[in-house]
C-alpha cells in the first residue's frame, strides 16, 4: 500500500485504529498524504471516511468514549498528532477543517475569517487585516465581499458562506486542510466554484477531501483512497483508481454496483 511515488510526504497514517465506544470504526489504516496535492477519500456511507478525516485534527477528542491507537505523523517535524503529549488545540492550529454544511459564526464576515487568529491572541489590526484579505482572496471571495466586510455572514448565499468557511480555515496558514463533503449542501454552480478553488489551493497547502461523489473525486483529486467498512481497500493515483483499480471491490464501487 505504501506508495513510493508519494514525495514529499506531508502526513503519514500508521496502523490507525479508532473506536466509538465498543464500535471498531477504523481498522488498521495506513496512508501517506503527499505535500501540496489533493487526496480524496471515497466509499459508501458509514465506511469511516469522515471518521478518518476527523482523526487528523483530533475532533474526536471533543466527545467522550472515543479512542485512538496508532499514529498520524506530520512532516517535516515528525510529530505524532495523536500522541497524548500533543495538545489537540495546537494540532487544530496547523490542520484546519471545512465542514459539510456551511457553518459561519453569526458574526461579521471579517470576524469570521479573523477568528482563528484572534484565538491565538493576535490583536494587531494590521496583521488581522492582511490575513483576512489574503484568506478571502485565496477563497475567491474578496471581490464579492470587500465592500461589506462588516455585515453579517448569514446574509451571504450558501456557496459564498462555504467559501467564507474556507477563508476562515485558510486564515490561520494551515499546513493541511480537511474538507468534509464541502459541496454536499450546495447547488451545481457553487459546487463548480469550490472545485476550481481546490485546484488553486493545492499550490499552497495539502488537502484531504471526503466526498460521496465519485465524479468530484475524479475531477479534483491527485490521489484517491477507497474505504469500505472501516478499512482502507485501495489507495493510489486517482487516474489509476478510476481506470484500472487493482481490487475487485473498488471496481464494483466505482462502476456503481453498490454504495
Amino acid at each position: 500500500m505504501v506508495n513510493s511515488s508519494i514525495y514529499p510526504v506531508k502526513a503519514e497514517v500508521k496502523s490507525l485504529n479508532f473506536y466509538y465506544g465498543q464500535v471498531h470504526a477504523l481498522k488498521n489504516i495506513n496512508l501517506q498524504i503527499p505535500e501540496k496535492k489533493v487526496v480524496a477519500l471515497i466509499g459508501p456511507s458509514g465506511c469511516g471516511k469522515t471518521t478518518l478525516l476527523r482523526c487528523f485534527n483530533r475532533m474526536h477528542d471533543l466527545y467522550p468514549g472515543h479512542t485512538y491507537s496508532g499514529e498520524i505523523v506530520l512532516h517535516p517535524d515528525e510529530v505524532n498528532v495523536l500522541s497524548k503529549d500533543v495538545d489537540p488545540i495546537e494540532v487544530r492550529m496547523r490542520i484546519s477543517m471545512v465542514f459539510q454544511k456551511p457553518n459561519p459564526f453569526p458574526k461579521s464576515i471579517y470576524e469570521n475569517v479573523a477568528y482563528g487568529l484572534r484565538v491565538r491572541g493576535i490583536r494587531r489590526r494590521s496583521i488581522l487585516d492582511e490575513h483576512v484579505e489574503r484568506a478571502l482572496r485565496s477563497a475567491a471571495l474578496w471581490d464579492e465581499v470587500k465592500d461589506r466586510l462588516h455585515s453579517m455572514a448569514f446574509n451571504l448565499s450558501g456557496g459564498q458562506q462555504q467559501r467564507l468557511c474556507i477563508a476562515r480555515a485558510l486564515a490561520i496558514d494551515p499546513e493541511l486542510i480537511l474538507f468534509d463533503e464541502p459541496t454536499s449542501a450546495l447547488d451545481p454552480i457553487a459546487t463548480a466554484k469550490i472545485e476550481e478553488l481546490t485546484n488553486e489551493l493545492k499550490k499552497e497547502v495539502s488537502i484531504i477531501i471526503v466526498t460521496h461523489n465519485m465524479q468530484q473525486a475524479a475531477r479534483i483529486s491527485d490521489y484517491t483512497a477507497f474505504m469500505y467498512m472501516g478499512e482502507l481497500i485501495e489507495y493510489d493515483e486517482t487516474g489509476k483508481i478510476f481506470t484500472k483499480p487493482s481490487k475487485k471491490l473498488t471496481e464494483e464501487y466505482i462502476t456503481g454496483h453498490f454504495g
Binding site: 485534527n57 475532533m59 471533543l62 467522550p64 488545540i89 495546537e90 487544530r92 492550529m93 484546519s96 477543517m97 465542514f99 454544511k101 457553518n103 459561519p104 459564526f105 453569526p106 477568528y115 482563528g116 484572534r118 484565538v119 491565538r120 448569514f154 468557511c165 476562515r168 480555515a169 486564515a171 490561520i172
Partner: protein
C-alpha cells in the same frame, strides 16, 4: 347497525360537549384572573401618586408611602442579582459544556431540580440560621439579597442550560477546528449566541425575587422603617460605601403584607396600591423577558 350509530352519536356528543365546556372553563379561568387583577387596580391605582412613592410609612393611611420599601426592594435585588447571575450562569455552563457524564454530575443535576421545588420559606429558615446568626450578618440587606439569590439560583441555572442547548453543535465544532480552546468557544460563541435566552431567564428569576415575601419575613425584614439605608456614594474618598449592605430594610411585598393585616380600610387601599406597583414591576419584567426572547429568536436563525 343501529347500535354503532348510537355509539357514534353518543361519542360525538361528548366530544362536542367537552369542546364547549373546556373552552368555557378556559375563558372562566382567564376571566377570574383578570377580575382579580382588575379589582386590585380598581381599588389601588388612584392611590398611586408622588406623595405615595416618596413618603415613609405612617400611622395615618393617607400620609403613608412606600419610599423605604421601594429603595429596600431595589437594593436587595441588586445583591440578589450580583449573587445569583454569575453563579447560576457558571453552573449552567459547567453542566452543559464541561460536565463529564458521571455520578457527581448526576447528583448535581438531581440536586438542582430538587432545590427548585423547596418551599421558599425553607430558604428563609436556612438564611435565618446561617446568615443572620451563624455568619452574623444580622437582619440586613446583604442577608436578604443572599437569601433571594440562592432561592432563584435554580431558575437561572435551568434557563441558562436551555439557552445554551439551543446553540448548535456545528458552531462549536467550527470554532474548535480553527484552534479555539474550550473556554474561547464558550466565551466567543456559546455565551454570546445564547445571551438572549440567558437574559430572559435572569429577568424572570429577578422578577420572582421582587415578589418573594416569606423568606424575608423569616429573616426579619422590618415593616415600619422611616429612614433610608446609608447612601452608596459618599462625598469623601473613596466615594463608594458598602455600609448599606448591613442596614436593616423593608421591601415592597412585606409593606403590602403589613398593610393587608391592618383592620382600617385606608390601609387596604394602600395595600392594593403597593400590589399594583409590584404587579407592574413583575409583569413588566416578564413582558420584557418575552420580548427579548422573541427579538433574539428573530435575529439568530440557525
Amino acid at each position: 347497525m343501529d347500535r354503532v350509530d348510537h355509539i357514534v352519536r353518543r361519542s360525538r356528543f361528548f366530544d362536542a360537549f367537552f369542546a364547549v365546556v373546556g373552552g368555557l372553563i378556559l375563558v372562566a379561568v382567564l376571566i377570574v384572573l383578570f377580575v382579580l387583577i382588575g379589582d386590585l387596580f380598581y381599588r389601588g391605582f388612584d392611590r398611586i401618586n408622588w406623595q405615595f412613592l416618596t413618603s415613609f410609612p405612617s400611622r395615618f393611611a393617607e400620609r403613608a408611602g412606600i419610599l423605604s420599601a421601594l429603595v429596600g426592594s431595589i437594593l436587595v435585588l441588586i445583591v440578589t442579582a450580583v449573587c445569583s447571575i454569575p453563579l447560576g450562569i457558571a453552573a449552567g455552563l459547567y453542566l452543559e459544556e464541561y460536565a463529564p457524564k458521571n455520578r457527581l454530575t448526576a447528583l448535581i443535576e438531581i440536586n438542582i431540580s430538587n432545590l427548585a421545588s423547596v418551599p421558599s420559606i425553607i430558604y428563609g429558615l436556612m438564611a435565618l440560621g446561617l446568615f443572620v446568626y451563624k455568619l452574623n450578618l444580622g437582619q440586613s440587606i446583604l442577608a436578604a439579597g443572599l437569601t433571594l439569590g440562592l432561592l432563584v439560583l435554580p431558575i437561572v441555572i435551568v434557563t441558562t442550560r436551555e439557552a445554551i442547548r439551543s446553540v448548535p453543535q456545528h458552531i462549536r465544532e467550527a470554532a474548535f477546528a480553527v484552534g479555539a480552546t474550550k473556554w474561547q468557544v464558550v466565551r466567543d460563541h456559546v455565551l454570546p449566541y445564547s445571551s438572549g435566552g440567558i437574559m430572559t431567564g435572569v429577568i424572570i428569576a429577578l422578577s420572582r425575587a421582587i415578589g418573594e415575601t416569606a423568606p424575608l419575613v423569616t429573616i426579619g425584614a422590618l415593616t415600619f422603617i422611616s429612614f433610608l439605608p446609608s447612601p452608596p456614594l459618599t462625598p469623601e474618598p473613596p466615594f463608594i460605601s458598602f455600609k448599606w449592605l448591613m442596614d436593616p430594610f423593608a421591601v415592597l411585598p412585606i409593606q403590602m403584607f403589613n398593610w393587608i393585616s391592618r383592620p382600617q380600610e385606608g390601609f387596604h387601599v394602600n395595600a392594593a396600591a403597593v400590589g399594583v406597583v409590584i404587579l407592574i414591576i413583575t409583569l413588566g419584567m416578564n413582558a420584557a423577558a418575552i420580548l427579548i426572547r422573541w427579538r433574539f429568536r428573530r435575529r439568530i436563525k440557525w
